[in-house]
Each structure stands twice: as C-alpha cells, then as structure tokens.
Symmetry: C2
Subunit: 368 residues, 2 copies
C-alpha cells in the first residue's frame, strides 16, 4: 500500500498543497486542483495517484450533469492520518484522537483542583496507551500536539513544580511519534484555521477568552508563531489604563467579579446579568482596542472572537466589541470585521491535534 522507499509522512510540497486545498474547500476534482494550484493537469494526475495509493485521498462518485466528461471529486480519506491532542487547563485536562478530517474519534478528560506534572503525565500515558490499543492501525498516528498555557507557575505557589518541567520532552519519551507543544491560545487559532467551518480570509487575528486571554495570528493562511514562539500573545497587549488585555478580558477577571470560580464546562455556568454586563463592557473595550492595533499593524480584515464560554456570552461579547470598535478613531485604516468563532470549548483540543497535522500536511509545515 505505502511506498516504502520513503516515509509515509514525507509528502512533497505540492502533495501537501493539494491536501490543504481539499481540506479548505471540500472535495475537488482534479481539474479544479490544477486550476487552483497552477500546476498542469498531468502533474495533478501524478500527485493525486500517489495520494490515493497512500490512503490520503478517496475518489468520490463521478459528477454528471455538466458539459464535458464527468468529474470525479477527490476527498480527504478520514483515516489517512490520525492525530492526538492533549489540552492542559486550569481545572481540566483533555485527550483526543482526531482523524484526517477533523472529527474527534475518542475523547477522555479528567477534572482536578490544579494540575501537577505527575498527574498530567500519568493521565496522558494511560490515555494514550488505551487509545493505541483500541485503534486498528496505530501506525497511522502522525503525532501528538499539546496545548497548554505558558507560565503555569504564575497561577500560584501550588504550581511551582511546572517551573522548568519539559512536558513535551517527557511525553515524547515513550512515544514512537513526535510531540508538538504550543500555547493554548495559538492552538485555538490553529483549530479555527484548519478545522473551522467559518469562511475566513488568508489573514486574521483570533482572540480566545478563557481563564486567561490568548490569541493567534494567521498571515497568508499560516499560523504565525514568531521567532520565540510567542506571537499571538494578545493577552499581553497593552491597553489604555496601564493594563494588559488579560487584566480585563478573561474568565479569571469575571470570576473575581463574581467572587467564586466557574465550572470547567458550560453546565452550571450561571452568571447574573448585573455582573456579566459590566465585565463584557470592559472586556469589549479592550478587545476592540487590540483588534484595531492589529489592523493598523497588519492590515488585517477580520478578527475572530471565541472562548471557553457559553455561546450566549460569546455573542454578547462579540456584539459589544463591534459596537466599541466603531467608536475608536480609525483614520487611515479600515475597521476590521468581528466574527464569532465556531469551536468554543473544543477549539484548544482540536488545535492541539492540528499541530502535527500542520507540521506534516500543511504546505509550509506551519510550525516546527
């Protein structure tokens, strides 16, 4: 089945380009691929033959009804490659197995008061072992992606063990596939880029409101992580008042207003309007400011706002941000559109799984 003179994950740039085009636009016939890539029909024939042989693409039913020979759309083979995602949060750790199309095949999670390295390693080891034994072809797992907040030790003294702890390295020890680790804000952005159902331009910023506020930047259709892996640190954006975005637009500040912490999932997320309202008003001001700064700098037309919050809260936040952005001075630039994210709580875990996917299957191997 697989051509064994070369590793199954060693795809040429044009093979990856074809896969990513089909991922974004849905099933496409060869002729459309030739047109979209600028390659000759012959080149597409050759590359798609390889991709079908190696199990990454499926030939669909021929489409008739148009003039000319009927076309055969090519779609992603769901089992073409599998990816593991691990998302580490303040109250919750999640592990998922995601297929080539972005569907979550297996999901496990564990709740705790606060995460410790030992506990996370144990959860991951056991969970991965279980998954490996239940998957028909574990050799098709391309890698593990880890989504984690950076600087966990800033959460409090009980998190000191995380200082200097090499999570990715420790996880990689007993795995036969590579491990990728990225800030959870960036992975939420990666998820929207790679698996999201939104119709997005090639350039956008992504803001993700969770315990902290994070974000990601996509330029030319690629997640930008920056030279020190710290791009999209939107929570650290300075905002008026001598503060940073995460000082006003994060769930932790909402919890401070409430006086108690909120549950790690949507069930039982109850916030009285007289508390949520002022929080949203203040957060929206800061979000609008940050988004406008991003537009001035990068000519970005769209900002996606998402978060680990109920859909209704996200909606209010987006509406308030749209209103605020209209009030800020914007001479010389076009105010960007604010779009609601589509993935909410699953963004980070999906994005974690998207890390190995991007590495092996996106045209420019986005992250390394």
């Amino acid at each position: 089945m697989l051509n064994d003179s070369r590793n199954w994950l060693d795809l040429s740039r044009n093979e990856r380009l074809i896969l990513s085009l089909i991922r974004r636009r849905g099933p496409l016939p060869r002729a459309a691929l030739a047109q979209a890539t600028g390659l000759s029909a012959q080149a597409i024939t050759n590359q798609t033959r390889k991709l079908i042989q190696n199990g990454f693409l499926d030939e669909g039913a021929v489409v008739r009804g148009k003039v000319g020979q009927p076309s055969t759309p090519l779609s992603l083979a769901p089992d073409g490659a599998l990816f593991l995602g691990l998302k580490l949060g303040r109250r919750l750790v999640e592990l998922a197995l995601v297929d080539f199309t972005g569907a979550i095949k297996i999901h496990r999670q564990e709740i705790y008061a606060h995460p410790t390295p030992d506990r996370i390693i144990a959860f991951a080891r056991h969970g991965i072992a279980t998954i490996l034994s239940s998957v028909p072809d574990p050799g098709r797992i391309a890698g593990l992606g880890v989504a984690t907040p950076f600087r966990l030790w800033d959460w409090g003294a009980e998190m000191a063990d995380w200082h200097g702890f090499d999570l990715a390295g420790r996880l990689a020890e007993d795995l036969r596939f590579p491990v990728f680790l990225e800030n959870d804000g960036s992975t939420a952005c990666a998820a929207e880029l790679i698996f999201g159902r939104l119709s997005l331009p090639l350039d956008f910023v992504h803001l993700y409101i969770a315990h902290f506020a994070g974000g990601g930047v996509v330029l030319d259709g690629r997640l930008r992580v920056g030279p020190a892996r710290n791009a999209g640190a939107l929570g650290s954006m300075p905002v008026p008042g001598g503060r940073q975005l995460l000082d006003v637009a994060s769930v932790s500040t909402l919890e401070a207003r409430l006086g108690h912490s909120l549950p790690p999932d949507d069930s039982g997320w109850v916030v009285p309007a007289e508390i949520e309202g002022p929080w949203i008003a203040e957060a929206a001001k800061a979000l609008a400011f940050s988004v406008l700064a991003a537009t001035a700098l990068l000519d970005i037309p769209v900002a996606v706002v998402d978060g680990a919050v109920p859909a209704s809260t996200r909606r209010l936040l987006v509406d308030a941000t749209r209103a605020e952005i209209a009030t800020l001075p914007a001479a010389g630039i076009d105010r960007p559109l604010i779009q609601e994210g589509s993935l909410a709580r699953s963004a980070r875990i999906l994005g974690a799984a998207a890390l190995p996917l991007a590495h092996f299957f996106e045209p420019d191997g986005s992250l390394t």
Copy 2:
C-alpha cells in the same frame, strides 16, 4: 552576454536567493553560498555561472591565508540592474537612480508649497527622460518605484486634485519598465531591510517619523504590505487617550507646537529644547506603546525608529522610547530592543527604488 531565450529579469528563485544573500552579507564565496542556501556546491556553481554571465555578479580577488584552496568571493555587480525611485512629499519631490548595490547615482529634487498631480508628472517625466539619456545602458533599468503618503487629499482643500488620481498608472504610460507604488512609510522600511547597514533580525517593525508617522513590518525577512496594501500603518495605531500615533508622534505635531513649519531638509532645522523636549516625551510614550503592541501580537524582537529629522533628534527620541518601554507592563512578553535607523531622510527615496528591486530580485518578490 544575456541569454536571450529568457528575459533578463526572469531569475529563478534560487538565483534570487543567492543575490539576496550576497546583498545582506556582503561578498561571499561559492562554498559559503552552498552552506547558507542548503543547496549543493554543484547547484551553486551552475547558478552563479549564469549570474556572472548575465552581469549580476562579479568574481572578486581570490582570498588566501586560510587552510585549503583559496576562495573567490562573489559580489554584486553595481550595474547589474538599475532602479528609479520617486518620492513624493509635502514640500519636496525627489527622483533618484539607484544601482544594484544601493548607491544613488543621480539625484534630482524640486521644492514646492504643495504638490499637484500635474507638477509631479511633469517633474517625473522630464527627470526620467534626462536620466534615460545620460545612462549608458537604459535597458538595464528594471523599474520605477514610487513612495507617496496615502490620502494626500486629507492634507487640505488644495490637494483635492489627488482624489482618484492614478499616479502609478499615469507614470507607466510612457515608460518601458513597470511602475510600483507603495506608502512612503513602507518604503522607508523596505530601504532599511534591503539597503540598510544595520544588522537586523528577520522580524522587525519600523517606525518612520516624518510629516506624518508611518511604518512598516518585516516578517521572515520580507516586507509585509498586507491584503489591502495598508500594513504598517503605524501612524493609525490607537494609543491611550483616544488618539492615534500620528496625533502625537509626527513632525506636523512638532510644527503645531512650534507655530511654524520646518524646512524640508536638515539645514536650518532649529527647534528650541523647551519645545522639542515635551514633543519627544509625548511621542516616545506613544511609540513605546505601539511597539509593545506589535511585540505582543507578533513576537517581534526589534523595533527600528527613524525619521526625516536630524540625527540628534532621532537619538533623543530613541532614548526616550527606550525609557518609556521599560515602564509599560509586559507580563508574558519580552520587551523589544529599540534600534536607531540608519537612513534618515534618504530612507523613503531609497525604499522607492527598492520596490522594483524587491519585485525582481528578492526570493519571494516581496511586493506585487
């Protein structure tokens, strides 16, 4: 001399890569090029042979004194290609012919109270005609780059004629080479990137203080202009106080404090310290804020500050910005280094000439 089966400007990606490496690092022997590009020595031999034959590279004197066969460094042939730059300003228009190494060969300028389309066209036409007739090989001119502020009509009623005027199109009418047009802030950045003597990382932002404040963003060693050609609009960055950067950090605001306008060149630029000081203090605050926003968003390690101001003023501004940036909150990010630009008043005209250069000779044809 030139291989005529192909246009002299049609270089392959690897040819452009070689030229850009030599431009940035100075003369390099073939072995160093092989190492830097990752190409085989043979490939470098082949490509450099073509580049030498076509007049883009010169073989230098062999370098002895090291172990092994002596190396022959390859340097840019100054007349390999020539570029025209036109810079349109509020009080001054400039036209220059720049060679392949960034040296200004011919420079002409004209001062006015305010620019009109007719006057600029006439100046450019006449100047270009004169230059064409005085250059030994006008066929070696690759293109004309134009640096202009956007939205000229915002300067006042007497500039209304610029509304809807297609400057690049009009200039292209009687030229046999292409015309490129970009915001003057972006061209100042391009100049520092391509011709600058600074040692800069692959990612930086550039702030340019002139009548207005503008800027540019370089990512992965390429000037980023953005989907609507408006990236690097740092003057439009929101800053605290409901204002934009250009409301506080521009020569026009200094002139407002002075009560009269400053001359278009350095001679006679006299600003009493009691006026310059507060202007710099306020401008530095806004610059520091914007730079930190850029770093949070893009993980940018360096910001270059330059401007159409005397070196002493620029120095004060940079020092003040460094001081301000230390006072802003920066949890979660590394404060960027502030560097002084190296090109001052010539940045924009050099950058204009750099537009055709980048298009034809940079690996990713930066702008189109």
